[in-house]
């Protein structure tokens, strides 16, 4: 058995290395804590086994070996139950506690019942307890595996680890008993394998960012978005999702933004956490791990997943869809709100999302709406004017959001105001100023629209559903009005350079 003892000691060293790796690199506090507990239990179990054989004999060492064996086995389901799959059912926590509570009781009963460590797996109460612990963990892992594609790969690793423990623990003990060899009860050769597979799972579900371990009380101020719900913003580009999320964050609501590209949180919003989705197949699992950790620490918080399409691209749509379903569940559990965007999703994927029963809000593209308002004042120059503003802001026109409206208003007032002043006609300047002020007011009204207003689809780019008969303009009236415009000397836009080229901001 010397070879076996050496292997056990080497395995304990590997266990220590794995423990250090997980403690240092895994951000999920619950998983990290329970992994550390299970690993420490196994290390203690194997070392006390070696100590029992090689060290000075004594009842204290025997008790320590029995206790550590029972504890290590009880901590395996505690770790598996901590995995973030569909929230954490409260019953599982109770089962973990009961198993842990039984450990000292059985430790006391072992010498009283005449059982020993060598017959640990063979005696009825102790053996049943040890195997029950592993079987409960195995059952939960199998449940993960068959519950959907999101964590099936991770569940496979958990199952592999527990099967290794079962083989090298009770399986090997029974085999040795059959052939009359001394028992290896109180040790397990497969602990490095099991801890390695558990570590794989811990890393694959590792949150992208560290959430402060301090658990805040439920955020209870009346939010503008209902708690416990999932809202899908149907928009071509993820714009309103960011705007609305920031509005909520300004109320003091904790916010987590998950996007493909990580951006630094705004300094004026201290409760905002932003995480970037790292390109890997485990993206969906890590997003779920991040969300679980955030919602557990910040109940009532808001989670905006701007990079759902990126998750679908990295992990596949089936995993992304199950991710949404599970996020919806844990948002209900923690009275939180989930915001999603349909940006970059295909039509079939949108239909799948709708089938989940989420709140669906079709939203306009702010660029189109702003352009519609500009064209009301500037006609065909609106497009080039918006292009000029985008160049001024050094960004693509498609990236303009409602948050840019104050800057756009300032840009218009300055550049167009300067142009009109250059004409040298006070009446023209006054008329342009009046029109600009009206335009800026319309832009600000649009910026102030709430989600409810927007969901009514009364967008500037949309004509009223029913035209008023009194507002109908006949062709003859239109031609007459145009003639009058020409008569007063209004130059057509085609005879002048585009207004955007003439607009030169001074800042």
């Amino acid at each position: 058995m010397e070879t076996y003892d050496i292997l056990i000691a080497v395995g304990a060293a590997v266990d220590v290395a794995l423990l250090a790796l997980v403690v240092l690199r895994v951000h999920a506090s619950l998983i990290r804590t329970r992994y550390a507990a299970a690993a420490a239990g196994f290390i203690l179990m194997n070392l006390s086994y070696v100590g029992l054989l090689r060290g000075p004999p004594g009842p204290a060492m025997e008790t320590l070996a029995v206790f550590s064996t029972l504890l290590a086995h009880a901590l395996v389901p505690a770790f598996v139950f901590s995995l973030p799959v569909g929230g954490r059912p409260r019953g599982l926590g109770s089962i973990s506690l009961i198993l842990l509570a039984v450990v000292p009781l059985l430790t006391v009963l072992v010498p009283l019942g005449g059982w020993s460590l060598q017959t640990a797996y063979l005696s009825v109460p102790v053996g049943v307890f040890l195997i029950l612990c592993l079987v409960l963990a195995l059952a939960r892992a199998v449940q993960f595996m068959i519950s959907g594609p999101l964590l099936s790969s991770e569940a496979y690793w958990v199952v592999a680890g527990i099967v290794a423990l079962l083989n090298a623990g009770p399986g090997y003990a029974y085999e040795l008993q059959v052939f009359g060899f001394p028992s290896t009860g109180g040790s397990n050769l497969a602990t490095p394998i099991a801890l390695a597979t558990f570590a794989v799972v811990a890393f694959r579900t590792n949150p992208y960012i560290t959430i402060s371990r301090w658990r805040r009380p439920l955020w209870h101020r009346p939010p503008s978005l209902s708690n416990g719900s999932a809202i899908v913003f149907e928009e071509a580009r993820p714009k309103y999702i960011g705007t609305i999320a920031r509005q909520e964050a300004r109320l003091g609501r904790p916010l987590l933004v998950l996007d493909r590209e990580r951006r630094e949180p705004a300094p004026s919003l201290p409760g905002v956490a932003e995480a970037g989705i790292v390109p890997a197949r485990s993206a969906a699992a890590r997003v779920f791990g991040t969300a679980s950790e955030f919602l557990a620490r910040r109940p009532g918080g808001l989670m905006a997943v701007k990079g759902l399409a990126a998750v679908a691209a990295l992990s596949g749509w089936p995993r992304a869809l199950q991710l949404v379903w599970l996020l919806q569940r844990i948002c209900r559990q923690y009275s939180s709100t989930l915001l999603l965007t349909t940006s970059h999703l295909g039509s079939a994927e949108k239909e799948d999302l709708k089938a989940l029963g989420v709140l669906w809000l079709p939203l306009p593209d702010p660029v189109e709406e702003i352009e519609a308002m500009l064209s009301h004042t500037f006609g065909s120059e609106a497009d080039s004017l918006l292009d000029a503003f985008a160049r001024f802001r050094e960004r693509a026109k498609t990236q303009i959001t409602t948050d840019d409206i104050p800057a756009l208003a300032a840009f218009l007032l300055e550049t167009v105001g300067q142009l009109s002043a250059a004409a040298g006609d006070a009446d023209v300047t006054e008329a342009v100023r009046f029109q600009l002020e009206a335009l800026v007011a319309r832009l600000r009204d649009f910026q102030a629209l709430t989600l409810k207003d927007l969901s009514n689809k009364e967008w500037p780019s949309r004509p009223p559903a029913v035209a008023h008969r009194g507002l109908l303009v006949k062709a003859a009236e239109f031609v007459q009005a145009k003639n009058e415009e020409v008569a007063v000397g209004v130059e057509g836009p085609t005879r002048r350079a585009p207004i955007s080229d003439r607009a030169r901001p001074t800042t």
Partner: protein, 180 residues
């Protein structure tokens, strides 16, 4: 050539280790012979089947990344550039079930045979209008404008969403086209 020899040596070494483990197991569990011929054949047969299956995967080069799950097709003009690593990005329509990150995919001639295997490193989605110059170059186009022109011939519009799959070659030995 050298890489192929190293790969073959590594696979052979793994097979040898498996065989050694099997022999050690037989020696260590020599008492199993007392179980009788029937149980020995059943248990030993199952165990040996497992070893043979593992060996098959090792020899077929399926380990450690698994079987290819899909394929990417390239024109005969693109293949040398894919082989040389000049093209590392593919643009695919969403409805084509594009590969995910970490997948191994077959690299094929368009409508033709396989010429290698690729490991997908990254996957994302873009509007055609948002594809950058750098991405167009990685995809083998001289510029983003040329890419959009090529896409318009495929009837892809500027507001269409495409999947971007970044890849690298796997197994250098396979990067020599067997057919042309």
């Amino acid at each position: 050539m050298a890489t192929r020899i190293v790969a073959a040596l590594v696979r052979s070494l793994l097979l040898f280790l498996f065989s050694v483990a099997l022999v050690v197991g037989f020696n260590y569990h020599s008492t199993f012979y007392s179980l009788g011929l029937g149980p020995l054949l059943l248990g030993g047969g199952l165990l040996t089947s497992g070893v043979i299956l593992a060996g098959r995967y090792i020899l077929a080069g399926e380990l450690p990344r698994g079987r290819p799950k899909s394929a990417l097709s390239f024109s005969s003009e693109e293949v040398p550039r894919v082989l040389s690593g000049a093209i590392t990005l593919a643009f695919l329509p969403l409805d084509s079930d594009p590969p995910q990150a970490g997948d191994v995919v077959l690299a094929r001639y368009e409508g033709g045979p396989e010429f290698g295997r690729l490991l997908t490193l990254d996957a994302d989605r873009r509007f055609v209008r948002d594809i950058t110059e750098d991405e167009a170059l990685k995809g083998g186009y001289p510029s983003a404008m040329a890419l959009r022109d090529a896409f318009s011939r495929k009837r892809w519009h500027l507001d269409d969403v495409v999947a971007l799959v970044e890849f690298r070659g796997l197994g250098v030995s396979k990067w020599k086209p067997t057919t042309s």
